[in-house]
Symmetry: C2
Subunit: 225 residues, 2 copies
DNA sequence: GCAACTTTGTTCCTGCGTTCACAAGCGGCT
DNA sequence: AGCCGCTTGTGAACGCAGGAACAAAGTTGC
């Protein structure tokens, strides 16, 4: 028997499922037992129809006329996303940002566990952050091999990010989250996801100034009819 | 004389323009004077045709048969994005992540200047980070009004993010970058951009396990029949 | 001066994501 | 038991981003 449902869930949907899961957890803590798509969508900041379509990728999991049972839906999403499955992560580059991530509690509750913090600076090595000890980046390959880490996070300066990325990929890491402001080249079979904080600010600023122009506060730069 | 070009540049294009700008800056530092779309696209990790389409939103700025002049293109993108224009930003929530952002040098070179760091904890108030002193969140409205800050960054715990957001919006901040894991509600005319680190990891992990499933290495965790 | 090569700018097209709208199904009320 | 209202799940249309192919334009060599 084959599954009639296509196994591919759009990436945008996956991102929203994670958001829904967080909202559902908050609702469960609040004692709610059921919730409608409209209410859930409002809390997540999306369109109700889009939410239902996202959830349809999991198969029918609601009751018509009533809504979704919070517990059931929460479990279903957790299972699909693989929450609870422990995932070993390594983090390279223990600067300000790296320290913040290592110390952030939001990962552990989702099954992400840092099994190695690495830095090249002798001043950093040996420090304890978030319950782990910073190790020399020389040990990177050994730790990845020993722990079978599948996720690597790069928070190094841009200059060394590519070489760190190469070493992670060579050591067997299949998924890389990159905070360094460079575009990484990786071999096939390795996923890279980039988070660029200054680009986010830049886009935000551009939208702001574009909105000012549209608002006609100062000379309306509209094309006249 | 009106500009015949439509003023709306797609958001995705704006984000890529910021990336191109970074690559161009690196090229200029390396002494390059011209660059082709193919080379620039490779360095930015995008399709050459897409890059040319992005650049076409700025009007013709290349020379056929030669390529783009690095200096000219760099200036053009900078002007469109508003780089160089100084933008006052306030940062609320000086935890690990907030400290990292306040101390990150990548913002100042793009014209983003933090004019206020705020926290509610007395233990944090008075600390100096990145050349600024952490102030009480009580002073938030006064500082925003005095500095005409247009951008606010929220790195507080989730529980207080909405109230901070409300205060920022009421004080006149028009663009908000939110790192707290909640969906913020804002009045019309205010832009919010959300960066959710744990969602990024979640998506990465899901793509990884999905890739494993497709590879047929082991049977994917099917719902039993 | 002319031809050939290189590279841009544009156009078409395909696919995806989002939104709207409606049929199907379930609980509650009479 | 039967009807009504509410909510889900799905099908269709719309708009948008991404990719490939092509024409225009400029340079280089002869």
């Amino acid at each position: 028997m084959i599954q009639p449902r296509p196994r591919t869930i759009p990436e945008a949907t996956v991102a929203r499922l994670a958001v829904y899961l967080r909202v559902l957890t908050a609702l469960a803590d609040g004692g709610r037992s059921t919730v409608s798509s409209g209410e859930l969508a409002a809390a997540a900041g999306v369109n109700p129809a889009g939410l239902r379509k996202d959830l349809s990728h999991l198969g029918p999991c609601g009751v018509r006329g009533v809504g979704y049972e919070v517990r059931t839906l929460s479990d279903r999403i957790s299972r699909v996303l693989g929450v609870g499955r422990s995932r070993a992560c390594v983090l390279v580059g223990i600067g300000n940002l790296g320290s913040a991530l290592a110390d952030y509690g939001g990962f552990g509750s989702r099954g992400f566990e840092f099994v190695g913090l690495f830095d090249a600076s002798p001043a950093r090595i040996g420090q304890r952050i978030g319950g782990h000890t910073v190790r020399s980046v020389e040990e990177l390959e050994d730790v990845v091999a020993a722990t079978q880490a599948s996720i690597g996070v790069i928070t190094t300066p841009a200059e060394v990010a590519q070489s760190v990325c190469d070493r992670l990929a060579a050591a067997g890491v299949k998924s890389i989250l990159n905070f360094a402001p460079v575009t990484l080249a990786v071999p096939a079979g390795v996923d890279v996801r980039k988070v660029d904080l200054s680009v986010e600010l830049q886009v935000l600023a551009f939208l702001g100034q574009q909105r000012l122009g549209r608002a006609g506060q100062l000379e309306p730069v509209e094309e006249p009819a």
